[in-house]
C-alpha cells in the first residue's frame, strides 16, 4: 500500500502537498543532517523527480539552514550565488574570508542546501567541498543526473563517504496510482495509470504537469466516479512539449542530434550513425538509457518510446527532418517492422514522398502491433476505394478498435460486398457478431453476409483451399441467424456438429477458441482451457481487441487455477503505448485486477477495479466482458456496499443486449442471482439458484455446479457434504479444491480440516473462514443440528440502532437522534437485518430476543 506523508511544516513548497512514496528518502535526508559519520548528502535525479521538494521539506524543519541555488548565469562568476548572503560589493580581498565566516558562524555546523549544484561555479564548489570534508558545514546538494560537464558536483566527497548519495528514481507503482487518484479525486482506470506512467516515466513532477495538461484538454472523462481515458489521438500542447524539450536541453548538441535521428527513424544501424558522425553521442545516450540496443542485434540502435520521443517526432523542424529522412532512406537498411511503421509516418509528417503501398503496409503492421492511432493516421490518407477486401477488413477492425464502430462496420460492409474469399466473410461475420448483433448497424445486416457467401458459392472462391469455404460459411451463418432470431446469447452451440476446417485463422478461429475456452472453464476443465488459450495465443500475434479477449480469458483461467503470479505477469506486460489501445485494454485489465484483488481478499480494491472496469467496458463497447464484470460487482457490493448500488448494477445487467457473445455469462448469472438473494432474502432467488444448479448438473457445467454449491454453503447455510465432494471431483481449479476440502471436512466432522481451511482462506474469503470456525466449534461441542444464527456479532452501532427500531422509531428519527444521515442509518439497518436474517422492522424485536436467548443458553 502507498505511503503517504504530509509535509510537516505549514510553509511547504506547495500548499497542502502530499509527498507520495518518498518516506524513506526524506528520512535519509533528515538523518544526513544529524549523522556523525557523514557531512551531508548528494541528491541526484532528473528534472521533476522531487529533489527540491524533498530538500525544501528538510530545510524547513530546521531554522538556521542556508539555501543557495546555482544557475547558468552565475555559474561563470566566482561565488556569484553567495551574493544574497554577503555583500559581494565589498573588498574583494576579504571575500573568501567573509563567505567562510558566514557559513561557519554558528557553533554547530550549519546546513547548506545547494539546489542545482551542477550549475554552481567552481570556486564555490571548492569552498563547500573543503568545508564539508572537515565537517565545518553540513552539505545537502542537489544535482541533475547527467550534468553537462559530465562530472557530478561533490563526487569526490561521495567517493570518500563524506557525503551520502541518494539517487531519486521513478516512484513505485502503487504510490504512483495513489498519487494520481489523490490528485484527480476519483477512481482511475488502468488506462489512465498506463498513459500517465508511460508519458511521465513515473516522475512526480512530470505527472503533475501531465495531469494539468489532461485537465486543460479534458483528456480524461469522468464516468460515474471513474476517470477513463478518451482514447483520442495524442495532441500535446505547447506546455507539455516544453517539458520534454527542457529535458532535451540537458544533452549536448551532438547527443540531441543523435537522439533525434534515432527516434525519428525508429532504429538506426551503427554504420549509419558513424557516417553521420554521431557514434559516440549515441553510445552516451545508450548509457543514459535514452536509446537501447537489442542483444540480438547489437549493431542497431533503437529508440525508447516515451513522451520525449513523441515530442521529438512532432516538433523536429521540417527542414532538418526532411534531410534526415533522405539520409536514412538512402542508407538502404532493412528495418524491423516497428521501424517501418515509424518511418512511413515520419515520411508523412515531414512531407516526403512515401508510396501508397508502403503506407498501407505500414498501417497494417501498426494495426497488428496495437499502435492503432499511428495506423489510423497512416490510413487516413488513403481513400477506402483503393483498398483490397483484406485490407478493408483490417481497417474495419482498426476503426472498431478505436471505438468508431459505425464507421468500422461501414467499412466492414464494403469488405463483405467485395469479398474475394469465404474466410474473409466468415471473419467479418464474427466481427459483426462481436460489435453489432444487438445494435443492428444500418450499414451491414445479416442478409449481406448471405449475399456475399452465395455469390462466392456460385462464382467460386478467390483463394480456394485457404481456410473455410462458402458452404461452411453458409451453414455457420444459419446457426448465427438462428441464435439472433431466438434472442439468446451466442455460445459454443453455434459450432455443434460443425467442423471448421483446419488452418482457419483470423477472427473466426479466435471466436472458436474463446467459446470453447469459456465452455471448458464452465465445465471445470481449467487446465485444458489454459492449454487451448496458450496455443491460440501463439496464432495471434495480432494485437487487436480480439487478442485482448484472449488475454483476458487466459488471465481469468490462471486465476481460476490459483496461479496469481503468472496472471499478474500477463496484466503488467504492455506491448504498445497507443492511447486507443491502452483505453480499450483498460476494461479487461481492470476486471482481471479486480478478480486478483478478490482472490487476495482486498475487497475495497476489487470494488474500485470493478467500477473502473465497468465504465471502461461500457465506454469502449466491449460488451463481451460486461456481464461478468457486472455480476462480480453486484455480488461484491451485496456483501460490502449499499443495496441501492447493488440494485443499480442489477439494472445495468438487465439492459445488456440478449444476443451477444459473453465471457463467463453463466457465472455472471449465478453471481447476480446469489447477490439478489442475499440482498432481498426472498426465497424465489434461492429457488432460481437451485434451478441453475440442476441445469448445470445436467449440462456437465462442473465449475458452475461448484460455484453454486459454494454459494449455498456460504449464504444459505446449506451443508451438503456428499454433493460438495461429488461436485468437486469433476474439475480442476481453486474453487474445486475449496469445495472438495470443505465437503470432506463437513462429511467427516473434521475440526482440524475446517480450522486449516479457515486459516488458509481467512484473508481472501473471510465469510468462508467465519463459517468454518463456527462449524468447527459446533462439531467440537457435539452439536449436529443445522447451523443457526449463532454468532450474530452485532456492532455497537447496530445494537444501538436495533434498540431504537424495537422502540418503534423511523429511520429519519434515528438519524436525527444519532446525528447521522438517513442514508447511513439505512446502511446500518440493512446490515443489521441481514445479520439477524429478517426482512421487516417488526421482526427485529423477536430476532433480538432469540439471539440474546441463544447467547445466554
Amino acid at each position: 500500500m502507498a505511503e503517504e506523508l504530509t509535509t510537516s511544516s505549514g510553509e511547504s513548497i506547495q500548499d497542502g502537498t502530499t509527498i507520495f512514496g518518498r518516506k524513506g528518502e526524506l528520512e535519509l535526508i533528515r538523518q544526513s543532517l544529524r549523522c556523525s559519520e557523514c557531512s551531508g548528502i548528494l541528491i541526484e535525479g532528473e528534472i521533476g523527480v522531487g529533489k527540491t521538494l524533498l530538500a525544501r521539506t528538510a530545510f524547513e524543519d530546521g531554522n538556521d539552514g542556508i539555501w543557495i541555488r546555482g544557475d547558468r548565469v552565475h555559474q561563470n562568476t566566482e561565488f556569484g550565488v553567495f551574493g544574497l548572503l554577503i555583500d559581494l560589493d565589498g573588498d574583494p580581498s576579504t571575500l573568501l574570508g567573509r563567505i567562510v565566516s558566514r557559513l561557519t558562524s554558528t557553533r554547530t555546523s550549519q546546513a547548506v542546501f545547494v539546489d542545482d549544484a551542477h550549475l554552481l561555479d567552481s570556486r564555490s564548489q571548492e569552498v563547500l567541498t573543503d568545508l564539508a570534508s572537515v565537517g565545518s558545514i553540513r552539505l545537502i546538494a542537489m544535482s541533475r543526473s547527467n550534468p553537462e560537464s559530465g562530472v557530478m558536483p561533490f563526487s569526490t566527497l561521495v567517493e570518500d563517504r563524506v557525503l551520502q548519495h541518494l539517487v531519486l528514481g521513478p516512484l513505485p507503482r502503487e504510490d504512483y496510482r495513489s498519487m494520481i487518484e489523490h490528485r484527480l479525486g476519483h477512481i482511475v482506470s488502468q488506462a489512465v495509470v498506463d498513459i500517465v506512467d508511460f508519458h511521465s516515466k513515473r516522475n512526480p513532477g512530470k505527472l503533475i504537469e501531465l495531469l494539468e495538461y489532461t485537465a486543460r484538454r479534458s483528456r480524461f472523462l469522468l464516468r460515474r466516479g471513474v476517470w477513463i481515458l478518451d482514447g483520442h489521438d495524442t495532441d500535446y500542447d505547447a506546455r507539455a512539449r516544453d517539458y520534454a524539450r527542457i529535458g532535451l536541453a540537458d544533452h549536448s548538441p551532438q547527443e540531441t542530434e543523435a537522439l533525434e535521428l534515432v527516434v525519428l527513424a525508429g532504429e538506426v544501424e551503427l554504420a549509419t550513425l558513424l557516417e553521420a558522425g554521431l557514434g559516440e553521442a549515441a553510445d552516451a545516450l545508450v548509457a543514459a538509457g535514452e536509446l537501447k540496443i537489442d542483444a540480438q542485434r547489437p549493431h542497431i540502435y533503437e529508440a525508447v518510446e516515451n513522451h520525449t520521443s513523441d515530442t521529438i517526432r512532432y516538433t523536429t523542424p521540417t527542414g532538418r527532418s526532411r534531410e534526415w529522412f533522405d539520409f536514412i532512406d538512402s542508407s538502404g537498411d532493412a528495418p524491423a517492422e516497428w521501424s517501418q511503421v515509424v518511418r512511413a509516418e515520419w515520411g508523412l509528417i515531414c512531407g516526403a514522398e512515401v508510396g501508397e503501398s508502403r503506407t498501407i503496409d505500414a498501417a497494417l503492421i501498426a494495426a497488428r502491433l496495437g499502435d492503432w492511432h499511428r495506423a489510423m493516421r497512416l490510413i487516413a490518407e488513403i481513400p477506402t476505394e483503393k483498398l483490397s477486401p483484406h485490407e478493408l477488413l483490417s481497417v474495419a477492425l482498426l476503426y472498431c478498435g478505436c471505438n468508431k464502430i459505425p464507421l468500422g462496420l461501414d467499412i466492414l460492409a464494403h469488405a463483405v460486398r467485395t469479398a474475394c474469399c469465404a474466410p474473409l466473410v466468415v471473419d467479418a461475420l464474427v466481427v459483426w457478431m462481436n460489435r453489432s448483433s444487438a445494435s443492428m448497424s444500418p450499414a451491414l445486416r445479416l442478409a449481406d453476409f448471405r449475399t456475399a457467401l452465395n455469390r462466392l458459392h456460385e462464382e467460386g472462391d478467390g483463394h480456394p483451399g485457404r481456410g473455410v469455404d462458402a458452404a461452411f460459411g453458409l451453414e455457420f451463418l444459419d446457426r448465427v441467424a438462428a441464435v439472433v432470431a431466438e434472442e439468446r446469447p451466442i455460445t459454443v452451440d453455434v459450432f455443434d456438429g460443425l467442423t471448421p476446417e483446419s488452418g482457419a485463422t483470423g477472427s473466426f478461429h479466435l471466436l472458436d477458441t474463446m467459446l470453447h475456452a469459456t465452455d471448458m472453464l464452465d465445465s471445470g476443465c481449467a487446465l485444458e482451457a489454459l492449454a487451448l488459450l496458450e496455443s491460440a495465443q501463439a496464432d495471434f500475434s495480432n494485437e487487436s481487441t480480439g487478442s485482448l479477449h484472449l488475454t483476458m480469458l487466459q488471465g481469468r483461467t490462471l486465476l481460476q487455477l490459483g496461479r496469481i503470479a503468472e496472471a499478474r505477469e500477463l496484466m503488467t506486460t504492455l506491448s504498445t503505448h497507443d492511447i486507443a489501445y491502452l483505453s480499450a485494454r483498460s476494461g479487461p485489465i481492470d476486471l482481471l485486477w479486480a478478480q486478483t484483488h478478490l482472490l487476495e481478499g482486498n475487497l475495497p480494491g476489487a470494488m474500485k477495479a470493478l467500477r473502473a472496469a465497468i465504465e471502461s467496458l461500457t465506454y469502449w463497447n466491449l460488451g463481451t466482458q460486461l456481464a461478468i464484470a457486472l455480476g462480480e460487482a453486484e455480488y461484491a457490493v451485496s456483501r460490502v456496499g449499499t443495496a441501492a448500488d447493488a440494485d443499480e448494477l442489477h439494472a445495468r445487467f438487465d439492459e445488456l443486449p440478449v444476443t451477444a457473445l459473453y465471457h463467463e455469462y453463466r457465472r455472471a448469472l449465478v453471481l447476480r442471482t446469489t447477490a439478489r438473494a442475499i440482498r432481498t432474502g426472498e426465497t424465489r432467488y434461492e429457488r432460481e439458484l437451485r434451478r441453475m444448479l440442476d441445469e448445470a448438473e445436467a449440462d456437465g457445467a462442473a465449475a458452475i455446479v461448484v460455484l453454486i454449491r459454494l454459494h449455498l454453503f456460504l449464504h444459505f447455510d446449506e451443508i451438503a457434504p456428499e454433493a460438495m465432494c461429488e461436485a468437486a471431483a469433476h474439475g480442476t481449479g481453486r474453487e474445486f479444491v475449496i469445495v472438495g476440502r470443505l465437503g470432506a471436512a463437513l462429511r467427516d466432522h473434521d475440526r482440524a480440516a475446517l480450522t486449516s481451511l479457515a486459516e488458509e482462506y481467512g484473508a481472501s474469503m473471510p465469510d468462508l473462514a467465519g463459517k468454518c470456525i463456527a462449524l468447527a466449534a459446533r462439531f467440537g461441542a457435539g452439536q449436529s443440528n443445522g447451523p443457526g444464527r449463532q454468532n450474530i456479532g452485532l456492532t455497537a452501532r447496530e445494537k444501538q440502532i436495533s434498540a431504537l427500531i424495537v422502540a418503534g422509531r423511523s429511520n429519519a428519527e434515528i438519524a436525527l437522534e444519532l446525528g447521522v444521515r438517513v442514508r447511513t442509518v439505512e446502511g446500518h439497518t440493512y446490515r443489521l437485518f441481514r445479520k439477524l436474517g429478517v426482512e421487516r422492522r417488526d421482526q427485529v424485536a423477536e430476532a433480538m430476543r432469540d439471539a440474546e436467548g441463544r447467547l445466554r443458553a
Binding site: G10, I13, Q14, D15, G16, G48, K51, T52, W67, R69, D71, R72, V73, H74, T77, F79, G80, V81, F82, G83, L84, I86, D87, L88, D116, G205, R216, D237, A238, D242, Y243, I246, A249, Y314, P317, T318, G319, R320, E323, L348, G351, V354, A380, E381, I382, P383, T384, E385, K404, P406, L407, D410, A413, H414, R417, T418, S439, S441, P442, A443
Partner: protein
C-alpha cells in the same frame, strides 16, 4: 503610496484597473505597460484566479505566464493586480529590444535612482539589487512584475530568479515562450516554486462575448468560429479583424526584423497563401524555413505534400496588402522562373492562380478550373467565381464550376443563367459530353429547380446514360435531396439508400445519402434507425474526401433529424459545423428555444434577426422563422391576435423545403390556436393528414398531438393509429399521450405528463398535468392530485426559471435570498425571523409568495428544489 506619474499616454482618469497603486519605479513612460484602455478581460477566468492565488497564497512564489503577443498576458496581469492587496509593493519592469542588449537593462532606472552603475558583475548585482528590494519593500515582500520577458537580458532574469528562490520577492513574469532567456525562470516552474499559466487564446464562447460586447453580433458576416480560427483565439487579432485597426502584432514586428531573403520568402508565401514545401525549398534553404517556423512566422503543414503558409492568416492579409504591385510582379516573375508549377495543387494552385490573374498573367484553363474547383470545394465561392470571371476563359466545365460558385454564394439567378444554355446544349447533343460532366450538370440542375416540380427537369434522361457508380451516386444523392425537399419521402428514402449501400460510389456521395436517409427515416417514424444514420454520417466526415457540398447538404439534416426527434442538445450543436452563417445558428437555436418552452428567449432572438430571405440560406428557413416569431409573440402576450397565416410567399422556389413549410404551418396554427382554437383545430388535423399522406408519420403525430389537445376526435384517432409507427423516446411519448387522449383515465393522463417531462417537453407536461390536476381535484382523488401538482410544478419551474434556476436566483430580492438560505439550512421561520429582525408571520408570508413562484407546496419541497438548483 503615491499615485505614479503615468505619463501623458494614460491619463489617470482612464485608469480603471487601479494603476494608481504602481510604485514609482519606472519614472519614464517607456517602462509603463501599454494598458489597453478599459478593455474587459474576456475568458481566462480560471487563469486569473490561478495568478491571484499564486501571488497571494503561501504555496507559490509567483507565476510564469506564457502566450503569444496580443493574447492577453498584460490584461491578465493587470486584472490580477487589481484584485490584490493594495498595500503590496509592486514594481513593474518591462523588457524591450533596447533593454535586452544591456547588462541588467531592466534595472537601469531603478539602479540609477540609487546612483549605482549597471555595470555590475553577476553575484555583485545580486547583493546590490537584493538590498535594493529589501529597502523598497519596507518589511513587506515586494512583488515584481516583468512584461515581455523574452526581451530581457540573462543577467537580469537570473537575479530575479535568485531573489525569488530566496523568498525575497514574489515574481510575475509574462513571456512569449519558455525558450532562453526565460529558461532561467522556467527552472522555478519545474521545481514547483512558481506556477506556469499558458494562454492559448480565448475560446469561441468568450470570443462571442467579446464580439457581442462591442455590438457587432449582426453586422458581422463571418461566424464566430471562423473569426476565432482566423485570429487563433488571439483577442488582439480578433479586434483587428473586427475593426480593421492597424495595430501591429508581435509577428509583424518580427517580420520587420528579418533579413532581405527571408522577407522575400515571407512575402511570396503570403501572396500565394500556401506554397508546397518542395517548391519553396527551391528558393531558399531548409534552415531558413525552419528558422522562420521556429520564430512562429511561418507554419508548415504536416502530412503528404506539406505546404508552408503564414502562421497567422490575419497577418498574411496585411503583408499582402503592403506589397506594392511592382514588387509583387517581380516576385511572381521570380517564382514562375524558379518553381515547378506542376507541383501546385489545391490551395497552392488556387493561391498561385489568384495571384497571377490579379497581376494580369492568366494561367492555363486547366489550372483555372482546378483552382476554382478547389475553392468551391472549400466553400470559397466568391473567390472561385472571381478567378473564373477574370480569367476570361469559357467552356462547359468552367461554366459549370462557375455556376457552382454562384450557387454557393447564393446568387441563384446568375447560376441559372449560366446553367440554362449548358442544359440546352446537353439536350441537343446528348452524346457529345462525358458522363461525369453530365452527372454534375444534372445535379446542378436539380439544385436550381423547384423541388415540387420534378416534371420541369430537363436532364431527367441523364440518369440512364450513366455507367460509373460514382457518377450515378452523385446524381442519385442529389436527386434524393431534391425529392426530400419536395416532400417525396419514400422516393428520397429509396434513392438515398441505394447510394448509401453502394460502396463503389464515393464516400462523399454516400455521406450525403446517409444524412438524407437519416432525416427521411426520422420523419417516417423510424427514429432510432434514422438517428443511427445521422450518427454514421457525422463520423464519415472523419474520412478523407468530404467537401463543401457534403457540409451544406448533410449538416442541416443533422439539425432537422435531431430537431424532429426532440434531441435538443444535439440539435443545438448540429449547425456549429456549418460556418457559413452565424445568423442560421441563432435562428435554429431560437426554434429550439420555442419548442422547449423558452418562448421569451426565442422571441427576443427572432425579433433581432433579419427574417427576410438571405442569399446564404441553403433552404428557405426564413418563412419558418417568421411563423416562429408570430407564435412566440402570441405566447409571450406581445400580440393577442394572429394577423395572418403565412401563405407560401416564396422568394426562391428552388429553396423550398417541404419540412420547413410543414413546421412553418405548424407554428402558424399553434399561434392561431392560442387565440382562436375553433378555426385552428381542423386545420391542425388537416396538416397532420397532409404529413401522413407523405408518409411522414412522425410529423403527422406532432400535428395531431396539437389538434388532439384541442379535442379533435379524428386527430386523436389518427394519433392513436400512427403513434405505434413511431419508435424511440418520442414514440413512447406519443403513445402515452394518444392513450391519455383516447380514454378518460386520469392515471393515463398523469403517465403521459410524466413521459412528457422525461422527454423534455415541458410545455406539454405543464398542459397535461394541469388538466390532470383539474380532473383529480374534481374527482377528489388526493394521491393523483398530489402527483399532478408535482409534475405541474416541475414543468412550470423549467418554464419559468430554466432547468438550473438561474433566472430564479437573479430575480430574488436580498430578503428573499436570506429567507431561502435559511430554509436550505433547515432553520425554522422563527429562527429566520430573529436573524432578519422580522416576525415569524412575516417570514411565512414571504415564504408563501415564494412557494407560489417556485410552484411548490411546502418548505420541504422548496428546500429540495433549491438544493437541486444549487447543485447544478
Amino acid at each position: 503610496m503615491n499615485p505614479a506619474p503615468l505619463g501623458s499616454a494614460f491619463p489617470a482618469a482612464e485608469d480603471p484597473q487601479g494603476y494608481g497603486k504602481l510604485s514609482d519605479v519606472s519614472g519614464r513612460t517607456t517602462h509603463i505597460p501599454p494598458v489597453a484602455p478599459s478593455r474587459r478581460l474576456f475568458g481566462y477566468e480560471s487563469e486569473l484566479s490561478t495568478v491571484v492565488g499564486a501571488i497571494s497564497g503561501q504555496g507559490h512564489l509567483g507565476a510564469l505566464i506564457i502566450g503569444a503577443a496580443g493574447i492577453g498576458k498584460t490584461a491578465l496581469v493587470n486584472a490580477a493586480l487589481s484584485r490584490l492587496d493594495p498595500d503590496l509593493a509592486v514594481t513593474r519592469l518591462r523588457g524591450s529590444e533596447n533593454a535586452r542588449v544591456r547588462n541588467l537593462g531592466i534595472f537601469e532606472i531603478l539602479l540609477s535612482r540609487e546612483g549605482i552603475d549597471t555595470d555590475l558583475p553577476p553575484g555583485r548585482a545580486l547583493s546590490v539589487i537584493g538590498d535594493l528590494f529589501e529597502r523598497r519593500a519596507e518589511g513587506v515582500r515586494s512583488l515584481v512584475v516583468v512584461d515581455n520577458a523574452d526581451l530581457v537580458d540573462d543577467h537580469s532574469l537570473a537575479v530575479l530568479a535568485q531573489l525569488t528562490d530566496a523568498r525575497r520577492i514574489k515574481l510575475v513574469i509574462a513571456a512569449e515562450s519558455a525558450r532562453p532567456p526565460v529558461d532561467l525562470i522556467a527552472g522555478l516552474w519545474l521545481s514547483g516554486s512558481i506556477v506556469r499559466i499558458d494562454l492559448d487564446g480565448i475560446d469561441e464562447a468568450d470570443a462571442a462575448a467579446m464580439i457581442n460586447s462591442i455590438g457587432l453580433s449582426e453586422t458581422e458576416t463571418r461566424s464566430v468560429s471562423e473569426l476565432t480560427a482566423l485570429a487563433h483565439g488571439n483577442p488582439r487579432l480578433l479586434e483587428r479583424l473586427l475593426f480593421g485597426r492597424s495595430r501591429t502584432s508581435g509577428v509583424e514586428t518580427a517580420i520587420a526584423r528579418v533579413d532581405q531573403s527571408s522577407r522575400e520568402v515571407i512575402e511570396t508565401v503570403a501572396l500565394i497563401e500556401a506554397v508546397p514545401y518542395d517548391v519553396l525549398v527551391g528558393f531558399t534553404s531548409p534552415q531558413t524555413i525552419d528558422c522562420l517556423a521556429e520564430d512562429g512566422l511561418l507554419s508548415i503543414s504536416k502530412g503528404r505534400g506539406g505546404t508552408v503558409s503564414m502562421h497567422e492568416p490575419v497577418t498574411a492579409e496585411n503583408v499582402r496588402a503592403m506589397v506594392p504591385p511592382s514588387r509583387s510582379l517581380e516576385l511572381l516573375t521570380r517564382f514562375d522562373a524558379g518553381a515547378d508549377l506542376s507541383a501546385l495543387h489545391g490551395r497552392t494552385l488556387f493561391g498561385y492562380a489568384a495571384w497571377s490573374i490579379s497581376l494580369g498573367r492568366v494561367p492555363t484553363p486547366k489550372q483555372v478550373l482546378d483552382a476554382a474547383g478547389w475553392a468551391n470545394a472549400r466553400g470559397r465561392y466568391r473567390e472561385a467565381a472571381e478567378i473564373i470571371r477574370t480569367s476570361g476563359y469559357r467552356g462547359p466545365e468552367l461554366d459549370l464550376e462557375h455556376a457552382r460558385s454562384e450557387w454557393g454564394a447564393g446568387r441563384l439567378r446568375q447560376a441559372r443563367e449560366i446553367v440554362d444554355p449548358l442544359v440546352s446544349e446537353a439536350c441537343l447533343n446528348p452524346d457529345t459530353s462525358v458522363q461525369e460532366y453530365l452527372s454534375r450538370l444534372a445535379s446542378m440542375e436539380l439544385r436550381l429547380m423547384d423541388p415540387r416540380k420534378p416534371e420541369d427537369l430537363r436532364l431527367d434522361w441523364v440518369r440512364d446514360t450513366l455507367s460509373l457508380p460514382i457518377d450515378v451516386g452523385r446524381l442519385d444523392a442529389t436527386r434524393a435531396r431534391f425529392d426530400l425537399k419536395g416532400g417525396r419521402i419514400a422516393a428520397a428514402c429509396a434513392l438515398a439508400e441505394s447510394v448509401y449501400l453502394n460502396h463503389a460510389s464515393s464516400v462523399r456521395h454516400r455521406l450525403r445519402a446517409c444524412a438524407f436517409l437519416g432525416v427521411a427515416e426520422v420523419m417516417s417514424g423510424r427514429i432510432e434507425l434514422g438517428l443511427s444514420y445521422i450518427a454514421q454520417a457525422g463520423l464519415m466526415f472523419g474520412l478523407p474526401g468530404p467537401e463543401s457540398f457534403e457540409r451544406e447538404d448533410a449538416i442541416p439534416q443533422f439539425f432537422v433529424a435531431n430537431f424532429i426527434a426532440g434531441n435538443w442538445a444535439q440539435a443545438r450543436t448540429a449547425m456549429d459545423e456549418l460556418t457559413s452563417s452565424r445568423r442560421l445558428t441563432r435562428l435554429t437555436n431560437a426554434l429550439i428555444d420555442l419548442r422547449t418552452g423558452n418562448a421569451a428567449k426565442a422571441h427576443c432572438i427572432l425579433g433581432e434577426l433579419n427574417l427576410g430571405a438571405d442569399p446564404c440560406d441553403i433552404v428557405d428557413i426564413a418563412g419558418m422563422a417568421r411563423s416562429a416569431l408570430s407564435l412566440s409573440a402570441v405566447l409571450t402576450d406581445q400580440r393577442t391576435e394572429v394577423v395572418s397565416i403565412a401563405v407560401d410567399e416564396e422568394a426562391e422556389a428552388s429553396r423550398h423545403s417541404w419540412w420547413a413549410s410543414f413546421e412553418a404551418r405548424l407554428f402558424d396554427l399553434q399561434a392561431l390556436a392560442q387565440t382562436s382554437p375553433e378555426p385552428a383545430t381542423p386545420q391542425l388535423y388537416e396538416l397532420g393528414a397532409w404529413a401522413e399522406e407523405h408518409g411522414a408519420h412522425t410529423l403527422a403525430c406532432l400535428a395531431w398531438l396539437e389538434a388532439g389537445r384541442l379535442g379533435h376526435e379524428q386527430a386523436i384517432g389518427g394519433l392513436s393509429a400512427s403513434a405505434g409507427r413511431v419508435d424511440g423516446s418520442l414514440g413512447r411519448l406519443l403513445r402515452a399521450v394518444a392513450h391519455a387522449f383516447s380514454t378518460d383515465d386520469l392515471q393515463a393522463l398523469i403517465t403521459a405528463a410524466r413521459e412528457a417531462l422525461i422527454f423534455g417537453a415541458v410545455v406539454l407536461c405543464a398542459q397535461l398535468s394541469g388538466e390532470a390536476r383539474k380532473r383529480a381535484v374534481a374527482s377528489g382523488n388526493a394521491a393523483a392530485t398530489k402527483e399532478a401538482r408535482i409534475l405541474l410544478g416541475r414543468s412550470r419551474r423549467v418554464l419559468d426559471f430554466d432547468a438550473d434556476g438561474k433566472r430564479f436566483h437573479a430575480n430574488l430580492g436580498e430578503l428573499e435570498h436570506s429567507i431561502i438560505t435559511g430554509i436550505v439550512e433547515g432553520r425554522t421561520s422563527a429562527e429566520i425571523g430573529e436573524e432578519l429582525h422580522l416576525s415569524a408571520r412575516t417570514v411565512e408570508w414571504h415564504l408563501g409568495r415564494l412557494y407560489r413562484r417556485v410552484h411548490v407546496a411546502n418548505r420541504q419541497e422548496l428546500r429540495e428544489v433549491v438544493t437541486e438548483w444549487l447543485k447544478s
